[in-house]
C-alpha cells in the first residue's frame, strides 16, 4: 500500500491547522489546579493545569499576564480561558491562555484556609500565648520519624552546637492517617512526664499531602496545649503548616529547628574567653589603681621623713607668729596716726588755739560769753580772757556799731 511521507514540520502544521479550524477549541474554558507555575524573564507565564487524572500545558503571553488581578500560586484551583493550538516545535498542543481567574481553591488548600481561619479566630496563634524557648535546653525532646534524614540532620546540628544537652527522641509516624494521633500522643506524653525543656515537632520535606498531618486540627490543639515550648519544623522553607502558626517558634526546616533550639558552642566559647579577658582587665585595673594610691601616699613627706614633717610644722608656726606681730605693728601704727590726726583736728577747733592767734573772749559776771553789747550796761564788770592770762574790766561806754 502506497503511503504518503510527510515531514514533521508538515505534520505539526497540519495538526495545528486542524485544531485551529475547530470552533470549540478556539474558545475554551478549563478548570484545574495550577502547578509548575513559572514566570519567564520575557514576561510570559508558563504553567500546567491538572486535575486528578490529567494535565494540560498552558502559556499566557505577557500582554494577557499583565491583566492578572491575583497572584497565581501552585495548588490554586483556577479557570483558564483561551484557545487550544499546537506548538509545532515541540509537537505539543497547549492552551494559549488569555484569561485566568481563581476558581476557588483546591480541596486541601480550602481545608487549610478554613482551619487556619478558625484557629486564628479562637486565638491559637496569638503572640501572647507563645512561650519563650529556653536559652540552655538541658533536654530536648524530638517528635519525628526515627527514619528519614530529618532526625539525623537535627542530631548532627545539635551535637555540633550544644553537645551538653540530652536529646530524647519520640519516634512517631509523620504521614498517613495514624500520624496525627501519634504526634498528639507524643506531645501529651512529653508533657505528662516533663520529658524536656523544649519540644521539636516536625518532619522533612514532602508534598502537601505528605505534610498534611501537621495541618491536622488535633495536632494544632496539642501543640497549643503543650506546657513545654514547641518548635515546629515541617518541610522546607516555603512550606507553612498550621503547626507552624500555632507553635511557639517556627523553624523553616528541621535543621533550622536544631539551630533555634540550642545555643552555639562557638558563641559560648567566645563568651567564656571574653569573660576571662574582662576579669583580667578589671583586676589589673584595680591593682594599678591601688598601686597608684599606695605610691601617692608613700611619696608624701610625712612618710618620707617624719622629722621634716615636724620641722615643716614648726616653720609654719614661726611664720604665722611673725605675720601676727607684723600685723599688730601695722595696726598700731595706723591707730597712732589716726590719734595724731584727731588730736590736731581737736586742737584746731579749741578756743584756746583761737585766743593764741590774738583773739580775746569776754564773759559777763554771770559767766555768759559776751556776744553783743545788749548783754551789758556801762559800769558792768566783765572778764576778758586772752591767749595768755585774763583780766577783769569795767564797761565805760557802749557803742551800738562796733565798727
Amino acid at each position: 500500500m502506497e503511503q504518503q511521507i510527510v515531514s514533521v514540520t508538515q505534520l505539526n502544521q497540519y495538526l495545528k491547522n486542524k485544531l485551529e479550524a475547530d470552533p470549540l477549541l478556539l474558545s475554551v474554558g478549563v478548570q484545574g489546579e495550577l502547578s509548575n507555575y513559572k514566570v519567564y524573564p520575557s514576561g510570559h507565564h508558563y504553567f500546567t493545569l491538572k486535575d486528578s487524572e490529567a494535565s494540560l500545558k498552558c502559556v499566557m503571553f505577557r500582554g494577557s499576564a499583565t491583566a492578572l488581578r491575583f497572584r497565581p500560586e501552585n495548588g490554586m484551583s483556577v479557570y483558564a480561558f483561551g484557545r487550544i493550538s499546537v506548538y509545532p516545535r515541540d509537537g505539543a498542543y497547549q492552551l494559549y491562555c488569555t484569561r485566568l481567574s481563581p476558581g476557588g481553591m483546591g480541596d486541601l488548600h480550602l481545608a487549610f484556609e478554613q482551619l487556619k481561619q478558625k484557629l486564628d479566630a479562637e486565638g491559637l496563634f496569638a503572640a501572647a500565648h507563645k512561650k519563650p524557648i529556653p536559652v540552655f535546653p538541658h533536654t530536648i525532646a524530638v517528635i519525628t520519624s526515627s527514619a528519614g534524614a530529618a532526625v539525623h540532620d537535627m542530631l548532627r546540628i545539635l551535637n555540633r552546637r550544644y553537645p551538653l544537652s540530652k536529646v530524647k527522641l519520640l519516634p512517631v509516624r509523620v504521614q498517613g492517617a495514624e500520624a496525627p494521633p501519634e504526634i498528639v500522643g507524643a506531645i501529651r506524653y512529653a508533657n505528662r512526664h516533663r520529658l524536656a525543656d523544649v519540644l521539636i515537632v516536625g518532619r522533612g520535606g514532602g508534598s502537601i499531602e505528605d505534610l498534611w498531618a501537621f495541618n491536622d486540627e488535633r495536632v494544632a490543639r496539642a501543640i497549643y496545649a503543650s506546657e513545654i515550648p514547641v518548635i515546629s519544623a515541617v518541610g522546607h522553607e516555603p512550606d507553612v503548616t498550621i503547626s507552624d502558626y500555632v507553635a511557639d517558634l517556627r523553624a523553616a526546616t528541621p535543621s533550622n529547628a536544631a539551630e533555634l533550639a540550642a545555643p552555639d558552642q562557638m558563641k559560648l566559647r567566645e563568651r567564656l574567653n571574653h569573660a576571662a579577658l574582662a576579669m583580667q582587665k578589671a583586676v589589673q585595673h584595680q591593682i594599678a589603681l591601688d598601686r597608684q594610691r599606695v605610691q601617692r601616699n608613700a611619696a608624701s613627706r610625712v612618710l618620707q621623713n617624719p622629722v621634716n614633717y615636724v620641722q615643716d610644722k614648726r616653720l609654719r608656726l614661726d611664720a604665722a607668729h611673725q605675720r601676727l606681730l607684723q600685723l599688730a605693728t601695722v595696726l598700731l601704727a595706723g591707730k597712732r596716726q589716726q590719734f595724731v590726726q584727731l588730736t590736731a583736728a581737736l586742737e584746731a577747733m579749741s578756743p584756746l588755739a583761737v585766743l593764741a592767734r590774738g583773739y580775746s573772749m569776754a564773759f559777763t559776771e554771770d559767766k555768759q560769753i559776751l556776744r553783743t553789747v545788749d548783754q551789758v550796761r556801762p559800769g558792768d564788770r566783765f572778764r576778758l580772757i586772752t591767749g595768755k592770762g585774763s583780766l577783769d574790766a569795767t564797761v565805760d561806754q557802749i557803742k551800738e556799731d562796733a565798727t
Binding site: 538541658h138 544537652s165 512526664h193 559560648l268 574567653n273
Partner: protein, 79 residues
C-alpha cells in the same frame, strides 16, 4: 535531668556575675583576687565541659508501666 548542661549554665551565670562585680571595681583587692581565681576556674571548667561533651541521644518508648523507657539511638557522629 541533664546535669552537664545545668552546671554549664550555672557556671556561665556565675561567671557573668563575677565579671560584673569585678568591673564595678568596688570590692576590696583581696576579695577581687578571690573572685578572679573563682572566675578563672569557671572558665576552665566550662571550656572543659564543652570539649568533653558528646550529644547524648536516647530513643524513648513506653514501658509496660507506661513510664518512659530509654534505649540507645545511634546517630551519625559529628562531621
Amino acid at each position: 535531668m541533664n546535669q552537664k548542661s545545668k552546671s554549664f549554665e550555672a557556671g556561665l551565670n556565675r561567671l557573668d556575675e563575677i565579671v560584673r562585680q569585678l568591673e564595678r571595681g568596688d570590692v576590696p583587692l583581696e576579695q577581687a583576687l578571690e573572685l578572679f581565681r573563682e572566675g578563672t576556674g569557671l572558665v576552665g571548667d566550662c571550656t572543659r565541659m564543652l570539649d568533653a561533651a558528646e550529644l547524648e541521644v536516647v530513643k524513648l518508648s513506653k514501658g509496660a508501666d507506661g513510664m518512659p523507657r530509654e534505649e540507645a539511638f545511634a546517630h551519625e557522629p559529628a562531621e
